[in-house]
Symmetry: C2
Subunit: 132 residues, 2 copies
DNA sequence: ATTGGTGCAAAGGTTTTGCAAAAGT
DNA sequence: ACTTTTGCAAAACCTTTGCACCAAT
């Protein structure tokens, strides 16, 4: 069971080429269409579901209600923060090992296993702070 | 601006009566209907939006794609973490000044002003970790 | 009287499903 | 040949919006 198809490869490639940054189903679909690859949106959704189920990729909600985001599970998402600006909506990826300290602290002092990938820290980015 | 209406009271009461547990917009709506209270789903959504905006309640994505969850914010939310267990859905309030260290670090090193109230750290609570 | 609140129906957006045709083995 | 995958159209969701009516001040 399990055939090899162009669509499957294309969808996985799209996620791989986005180097750790998340993409919505629609963004993946549009990217493939722009590359001239023939895919249906339904197929994108079906593969994202499968890839999420078998752990190849991760799915998380984008915070607002504009749809789910996906990204490769083995990308470097465990090594950086996700900062989301409440004003402009920008998602900022920040590589920093302070996150590990936070995770360690939560585990040691609060018995809580932090999911670094799903956690998003909300606040205000530099640009938006300057504007006020 | 701001009238007192039965619907407003009813929606807030529903959330208060479910202390600690989150509810979806639909669950709130159904609860009120079953209580014989006259409300429209639109009204529920509109109040949830307002209450979220003014900080009375908090909005969470439920992880899967079954819609957003809401729950009463507690007044001391600026002084503690909010840990949300992805498995059982429990919201854990943790008083700890490590959060201030985190906020300071984000500001100093990443020019990002953390909103402690809006930020929720996702992961797995002690009980759910033990079950696996 | 004036202003804000309500709720139906309709629209918006994302995700899922039914099914016949196409593609992989 | 046989089974899985595809993709269109349509449905199923959750949420927002337009608008006429109602309620609170």
């Amino acid at each position: 069971m399990g055939y090899n198809t162009k669509q499957q490869d294309a969808i996985l490639s799209a996620l791989k080429s986005s180097k750790g940054k998340h993409m919505t189903a629609d963004e993946i679909y549009l990217k493939l269409i722009r590359q001239g690859k023939q895919v249906g949106k339904t197929t994108v959704y079906r593969h994202l579901e499968k890839l999420t189920a078998d752990g190849t990729i991760r799915r998380y909600s984008s915070g607002d209600n504009s749809g789910a985001c996906y990204q490769l599970a083995d990308s470097h998402c465990n090594e950086h923060y996700h900062l989301k600006c409440s004003s402009c909506g920008k998602l900022i990826h920040v590589e920093c090992d302070f996150l590990d300290e936070l995770a360690r602290h939560l585990m040691n002092d609060h018995s809580f296993e932090l999911d670094k990938c799903k956690t998003v820290l909300y606040g205000k980015c530099e640009k938006c702070r300057e504007e006020k």
